[in-house]
């Protein structure tokens, strides 16, 4: 069965530190890839997505992600985090021909001022 793995369940960083959250998926076919964020008390919001083309994708709020097909990975990065980035981050995969998303278990990021 297809799965999505997020290796870090809880990450604590100081402001201005760099962030990288790992995401790996197990499906071998063509996929669309997403990162969602859920800020405390808010709904899930799309940070960025990859469908095709340039494997380095830039999203909102200074986030970016790189799709490495050979590694089945789609890691999320931000060079300098802010306290307002405190949230839970979810990687998700959509297989070609299906509408459903398969999510990872989420990574809770806590940024300390």
């Amino acid at each position: 069965a297809q799965s999505v793995s997020q290796h870090n369940h809880h990450v604590i960083l100081s402001e201005a530190a760099s962030l990288e959250l790992g995401c790996n998926y197990s499906y071998g076919g063509t996929v669309n890839l997403f990162w969602y964020v859920q800020y405390p008390g808010q709904h899930l919001q799309l940070l960025l997505k990859y469908f095709s083309g340039d494997p380095l994708v830039k999203g909102i709020k200074g986030f970016e992600a790189e799709f490495i097909k050979s590694k089945f990975s789609f890691n999320l990065r931000k060079p300098s985090v802010q306290w307002s980035d405190t949230a839970e981050y979810f990687c998700a995969v959509k297989r070609t021909g299906r509408r459903a998303l398969t999510f990872g278990s989420g990574t809770r990021l806590q940024v300390q001022p």
């Binding site: 808010q42 709904h43 509408r99 459903a100 998303l101 989420g106």
Partner: protein
Amino acid sequence: EAGVTQFPSHSVIEKGQTVTLRCDPISGHDNLYWYRRVMGKEIKFLLHFVKESKQDESGMPNNRFLAERTGGTYSTLKVQPAELEDSGVYFCASSEEGHGYTFGSGTRLTVV
């Protein structure tokens, strides 16, 4: 534009009772999805409507769950009878064809 609206935001019910969750998608969005997150685990797909038709209900856990989408507008998800393991956050999302999802804020269901 108004987003995806879910209510109630929280529901606490006793085991064996019935609960109905509601989702109002963005107007004009034919696609409506239900997802669930149980006990801090991954968010799991439940089902997908296209207008009033169930396109994919492969994620529905068992026959205690019934989803409907009246006239292709709002959707309800009924759990009857509720069990302890049904506790979690139920998310709804909607989309236009070829576009990404917009999620609602979720309904936190606690079965005691």
